[in-house]
Amino acid sequence: MNIDKRIADDMAANGISFVTTVPCKQLAGVIEEIDQREDMLHIPSNKEDEGMGLCAGAWMGGKRPAIIMQNTAIGVTINTLATLIQYYRMPLPMLISYRGELREPVACQVEMAVHTKALLAQLNIPTYHLHWQKDVEELDNILKYTFMCNKPVAILTDANFWGGYGDQ
């Protein structure tokens, strides 16, 4: 299975046509896939809160959005999640690389990993953790759930999900 194509196909099948991204090494493949697709407008953003603003506007304009980002961005987006996405009740699927989890080679990444689920829980953000590649089977349901309830929803994808770093 090509996991990057599978994710993009599920997003397209759920009507997602506006995607903003800030890269992570683990997300490089899916970002490249989305950039090439004709059925999705890809607008890279410079910071994740900016990206959430783009998504809010795109959704009000009639397009289903998504943001692809690293879990280290949770800290810089808390105010935006609370006062824009949640306060105005907007759907936002967040495909998040969960750095600092099992098979992580970079120690610094663990420092935000230990806060990631606690911060999302504090914000009452529905959170799904994909650990095995087969967990991608849940993605379609998660996206449907997001647009059903008009909430931000976190999809954490760890190094094991992406196949590790070769020697790890």
Binding site: I43, N46, G53, G57, M60, G61, L84, R89
Partner: protein
Amino acid sequence: MIRSEILREIAPTLRDQLVVCNIGIPSQELHAIDDQPSNFYMLGTMGLASSIGLGLALAQPKPVIVIDGDGSILTNLGTLPTIGNNAPSNYILMIIDNGSYGSTGDQPTYTSQRTDLTGMARAAGCARVVEVQDVDTGPVLEEALASGEATVMVVKCDSGNAKMPVITMDPVVIRDRFMKAIAS
């Protein structure tokens, strides 16, 4: 002129357009001067008006006017390259550059000193950037709407706020009626 005087002057133009308005007193002033379902008032999230407006302009064909502030642009400077590289022709960013954080008591921003937002917008890749004196805002906004090009307006004006009531409308109501105005 101060911000509220400019808003009062351009209200007849804004009335027929989709408007995304900056947090705090700018939204309170616009709401008090001429509340419209086609106005999206930001009640929080300083800095994101330009981004919300850009997403909206990219998603649908109607013109979108963003009323932003110098302080909010400075806090989300990454917005300028995103606008410079992606803004469609229906996007107008009007930065009310009063050289201050007006809503919080007119503390000076760096645009009251050496920082030049017009130059920064150009350097970020924005093609049509117009620096405007407060008194000329109306005609320049009309020109921007007629130009068929994405436009960044930097409106130089005085610092100061009109005393207007806080917006008590529910955010979901603001958003819902705005979406209906977009779709109509």
